[in-house]
């Protein structure tokens, strides 16, 4: 029969069925087990992550005065994939932008280099921070612009025009931040400078998300799993700064027309009471959309208003440094409170001469501090570095000296809770071995004893020296944040750092500084209300000398330690002393007396001509 001849063809047909099914199963395996790409696509399709931004923590000063807060603004968002039939002209007119702006912005959104997290399925920031007024115009027409939506955002507002360097600012996150921390997506805000930057983790809170289901036409079909996976935003933590905004304000006033810095610290706690860097700027300039433009303008200013000189400027400390020398010599037994050194208008040794002004000589340590005698400290260093019974060689003496300096917070970063800090310069033996090919002595480095030469400190370190003396031998890492609402400040900001010098030696230096106020270089700082201790500095400079003051008050229960550094201000007594005294008065008395107010007015209007020279 014919049929049997073809019966074997059933295997061909069965085989075809088999091949089809196997092929499809292999294909299924590729699609379903091969890659996560389809899963991601599906989630992007169906899930619409509605990000809810938390409110950012606000900033208060130490007295509870509001400094920085939030205000509602509107971001225009776009989902590229959903933009359809857009009337570009109408759109641009509504937003008040040009076609060119529009094209540019769209190009930036799509550029993966500048917008690494780009996806045409997700919301991208088109225009940020529209005011309520501008937004209301757009809102009316929004239904016409498919693919565009609105996101409410908080923007930063400043209740004060002071403290820009400490407060810092907030702006759109940079691509490098997004790469480092997956928390951020393009268009998010991040602290850029100051406390906003260093306390970003606390201030930002945590974004919430609503997972919504979205159908093929982009309509929201409700919450995924009834919102079981949604997350509520966690508001950022409010910070109380250690700043006293009144002191800060006064400091900035007094520094008008000058360059330099003021730092005031509460010695017992290490809390920074004010931190002025002059010239400064109004933080409100950087609010909102104009930030970028203003930043560029300021960065081109030769006076560098954005530089926080209080922690980033490194200066020769001048005579304020002598206190640290006195402490070192006393502790090392090079001198005692009775040791006398001569001064004949300076320190003369062979051809070497370090000048000094006219005062009674020879003299002991306390009057030497009071009159700021250069010669005394040169002799001290000379005897220390030359003491071969105590130190094998000059290198060992130098190392001992350096250890004292480091224990007082010099030469390294203090660790303040700000984004960046300079460390200053305390030379060591290696440094001079390199510089002088191993042949050097106390005489080669004599100027370090009076805070000149290689030694540089930041104004913060000078203020910290004041705090150390006020505390008679220790300091707490200076910090600008006093408390975190519902949190704790870092333990590193509470540690007591003891210096290598005993408290009894500190008393001698404190007395010297007190005498300086009573009848020495700082007599302008004297007042009837409390006992001020101080030390002037006149730091030599290639140009006009810098005017420096370091002090604290009251003498026996110190509440405030201050460092004032006025670039090219001349004698320490010219600017440093009165400014320091006024700040102490403001902080301790809570206000200025009429007399002081007049003095403040006067200093405020004194201007130092700096030219336009780069510095």
């Amino acid at each position: 029969m014919a049929r049997s001849a073809f019966e074997s063809r059933k295997y061909v047909i069965g085989g075809i069925a088999f091949v089809i099914v196997v092929t499809y199963i292999v294909r299924l395996a590729f699609l379903q087990l091969g890659s996560e790409e389809y899963k991601t696509n599906a989630d992007n399709n169906a899930f619409f992550d509605n990000i809810i931004f938390p409110s950012r923590g606000v900033l208060y000063d130490r007295n509870g005065e509001l400094l920085v807060y939030n205000q509602l603004a509107y971001d225009i968002m776009v989902v590229m994939r959903e933009v359809e039939g857009l009337d570009t002209l109408d759109f641009c007119n509504t937003l008040g932008i040009t076609k060119q702006d529009f094209d540019e912005r769209m190009a930036v959104i799509k550029d993966r280099n500048r917008n690494p997290g780009y996806s045409s399925y997700t919301q991208q920031l088109f225009i940020g921070q529209m005011s309520a007024k501008d937004f209301s115009v757009f809102q009316e027409k929004m239904y016409r612009f498919r693919g565009f939506s609105v996101r409410e955002r908080c923007i930063r507002r400043y209740a004060t025009e002071h403290g820009a360097h400490i407060l810092g600012d907030v702006a759109e996150v940079a691509p490098s931040d997004i790469e480092r921390d997956p928390y951020y997506s393009p268009g998010d805000y991040i602290g850029k400078q100051g406390v906003e930057r260093s306390y970003e983790q606390y201030l930002r809170g945590e974004k919430g998300v609503q997972i919504l289901l979205r159908d093929a036409r982009g309509r929201i079909q409700g919450h995924y799993r009834n919102g079981a996976l949604d997350r509520k935003p966690v508001p950022g933590k409010n910070l109380t700064l250690s700043l006293d905004i009144k002191v800060q304000e006064l400091g900035e006033r007094l520094m008008e027309g000058k360059m330099g810095a003021i730092v005031a610290i509460e010695p017992k706690t290490g809390e920074v009471l004010c931190m002025v860097s002059a010239p400064s700027y109004d933080p409100r300039l950087l609010e909102g959309k104009e930030r970028g433009k203003r930043m560029i303008e300021m960065s081109r200013d030769p006076m560098k208003p954005m530089l926080n000189r209080a922690i980033l400027g490194t200066y020769p400390p001048g005579s304020t440094f002598k206190t640290s020398q006195a402490l070192t010599f006393l502790q090392e037994g090079i001198i005692n409170s009775q040791t006398l050194y001569p001064c004949s208008h300076g320190f003369h040794f062979g051809s070497l001469k370090v000048g000094c002004h006219a005062h009674a000589a020879p003299l002991a340590i306390e009057p030497a501090i009071a009159t700021s005698c250069n010669s005394y400290f040169c002799w001290g260093l000379y005897h220390m570095f030359g003491n071969r019974r105590k130190y094998k060689n000059v290198q060992e003496a130098m190392t001992t000296w350096k250890d004292y300096m480091v224990s007082m917070g010099f030469g390294y970063k203090l660790g303040i809770d700000m984004p960046s800090e300079a460390r200053g310069m305390i030379p060591n033996a290696d440094y001079y071995d390199n510089a002088h090919k191993f042949s050097w002595s106390a005489l080669s480095v004599i100027s370090i004893s009076i805070g000149q030469g290689e030694v540089t400190l930041t104004p913060l370190q000078i203020a910290n020296l004041g705090a150390t003396i006020a505390n008679r031998g220790y300091y707490i890492t200076p910090h600008v944040v006093k408390a975190i609402e519902g949190g704790k400040i870092a333990d590193s900001l509470k540690v007591k750092h003891k210096t290598l010098v005993d408290p009894k030696n500190y008393e001698i230096v404190v007395n010297g500084m007190r005498r300086s106020v009573l009848g020495g270089t700082c007599h302008a700082a004297n007042n009837p209300w409390y006992e001020v201790c101080g030390k002037t500095g006149t730091a030599q400079n290639r140009g006009h000398d810098h005017s420096v003051f370091m002090g604290f008050a009251p003498k026996d229960d110190p509440k405030i330690a201050v460092a004032v550094y006025v670039e090219n201000g001349g004698w320490g007594a010219t600017y440093g002393v009165p400014i320091g005294a006024l700040l102490m008065e403001q902080y301790i008395n809570g206000k200025l007396s009429e007399d002081s107010e007049r003095k403040a007015e006067e200093i405020q209007h004194k201007t130092i001509g700096y030219g336009t020279r780069e510095r």
């Binding site: 014919a2 073809f6 059933k10 299924l28 395996a29 699609l31 379903q32 399709n45 159908d215």
Partner: protein
């Protein structure tokens, strides 16, 4: 024999394994429809307002239909085959005239609340007719006249259905050629059809890339010429058994091409395809020479195949370039040359996303998102397999395919045990229809075959298709159940 006894025998003789697989597929299908038509905001699985509720009614009425069909004797179909065929052709023509235009197609007849599509039901008529025709004593398919009559039986409904603008459904009728193959039609025809599809796909798909710098030829052209060479050689060997010719072709033809490729790669790159074209043309000349020498007509047929093959790439290309833009784009998207995710490629891409997102175990019953939020088009009819893929994952979707394979294999076995040509041809028609639907529908969802709107049997939502497939299957099961009776009767 007494009627009661008959029925008892029939009941015992029903192929219960097939029935089981049928019920499994329908039930599985119903769950998929539930998943596909589930609405997150209005969960209502059993209500008659939802497609899942309606599908349940269709399923139960199908079971009833199956019961009724099992009582209708084979004799009825045997005698009525031509009448049924004629009536169906008439119905198709009437439909073409009276059917209202629904989405461009004129194939649906509205009957009160439901609509029926005669094209779905006409398949069984064609199957019966083919079986009846081939069951004649002394029927010989190799008589050209007889063969063309068979072709006519298949092609008449195809033409009418194409006129109804239901190209997809019409394509299904081509599956009857597979049945003819089982009954003795020469395999070279199927193979030629296969070769044409391969040439077309490869030739168009890779008409722009070149192989490499050292082999500067167009991939499509190169592969088509190579396949032409190989196919021609083996056809010559298989259909004539001429080993000398095989040696000549492999030695001279393949050898030359191989050397030329080496020359191009290692010495001077040049267009190898020209040489391959010449070699293929020489094959044609050689075959005609053999035909004359050996007086064997088959050589001529192979020569024609070779000539068509070798020129196919160039003809296709010329035609392709002259197609209208939208047609060309459709083809390009189908072949994966263009990613047109918003237009023609949208459906397939969304289907792939839905299936791909299922992973190994799927997202769970009623938890699929893509197939509910309407990302996948026709999610409860033509693209129902997406729901299986998304909610049941690889395990579920591979499971469905395996059950289908078992189902088809079982039908092959049942068809082979038929005692007459009528039953066997009908059985093969049924299983080939299922196979074709599976091949096209799942292939389309997986992005492997063109997007042709035909349902996945027992899974896709819809009464017409479910009834149609039940009708096909249970007529066959009744025929099969009578196999034991015949022995006792005669």
């Amino acid at each position: 024999m007494a009627q009661g006894n008959d029925n008892a025998t029939i009941f015992k003789s029903i192929d219960w394994m097939t029935v089981c697989l049928y019920v499994i597929l329908i039930t599985w299908g119903w769950f998929s429809v539930c998943g596909a038509s589930y609405d997150f905001s209005h969960p209502d699985v059993f209500g008659f307002g939802s497609n899942s509720g309606k599908q349940m009614i269709w399923a139960f009425t199908s079971f009833a239909l199956a019961g009724v069909l099992l009582t209708i004797e084979k004799k009825f179909y045997d005698m009525g085959a031509y009448v049924i065929y004629g009536a169906m052709i008439l119905l198709l023509i009437v439909t073409l005239v009276i059917a209202p235009d629904t989405k461009g197609s004129r194939s649906w007849i509205p009957l009160g609340p439901v609509k029926l599509q005669p094209a779905e039901f006409a398949k069984f008529a064609v199957a019966l007719c083919l079986g009846k025709y081939m069951d004649r004593f002394n029927f010989n398919m190799h008589e050209t006249k007889e063969f063309f009559k068979l072709v006519a039986i298949i092609c008449v409904p195809i033409i009418i259905i194409i006129c109804q603008k239901e190209t997809g459904t019409a394509l299904v009728y081509f599956t009857f050629f597979m049945v003819l193959y089982r009954e003795g039609m020469t395999g070279s025809l199927l193979f030629t059809a296969f070769a044409v599809v391969v040439y077309f796909v490869v030739g168009i798909r890779f008409c722009e890339d070149t192989v490499s710098v050292n082999l500067p030829v167009i991939v499509g052209e190169f592969v088509v010429q190579l396949l032409c060479m190989i196919f021609t050689t083996f056809m010559t060997w298989i259909y004539t058994g001429n080993k000398t010719a095989l040696k000549v072709m492999i030695g001279a033809g393949w050898g030359t091409v191989f050397l030329v490729i080496l020359f191009s790669v290692y010495v001077i790159p040049f267009n190898v395809c020209l040489v391959m074209l010449v070699v293929n043309l020489l094959f044609v000349v050689y075959l005609i020479g053999l035909a004359v020498y050996e007086r064997l007509f088959r050589y001529v047929l192979i020569a024609v195949f070779a000539l068509m093959s070798t020129s196919f790439f160039y003809i296709c290309h010329t035609m392709f370039d002259h197609l209208a833009d939208h047609q060309r784009i459709r083809i390009e998207v189908l072949l994966g040359m263009k990613e047109d995710l918003r237009g023609a490629g949208y459906n397939v891409n969304q289907a792939k996303i839905a299936i791909g997102s299922g992973g190994l175990y799927g997202k769970g019953f009623l938890n699929g998102t893509q197939t509910k939020l309407k990302y996948v088009p026709e999610q409860d009819t033509d693209f129902i397999f997406c729901t299986v893929g998304e909610e049941e994952g690889f395990v579920g979707s591979a499971g469905v395919l395996v059950v289908y394979l078992l189902f088809i294999w079982r039908l092959i076995a049942v068809a082979e045990r038929q005692t007459d040509t009528f039953g066997r041809v009908y059985g093969y028609s049924v299983l080939c229809i299922f196979l074709f639907h599976l091949f096209i529908n799942v292939g389309m969802v997986l992005g492997l075959t063109p997007v042709i709107g035909i349902p996945l049997p027992f899974f896709s939502y819809g009464g017409s298709s479910l009834w149609g497939f039940t009708l096909l299957l249970f007529i066959f099961l009744r025929m099969d159940a009578e196999r034991n009776m015949k022995r006792t009767t005669f």
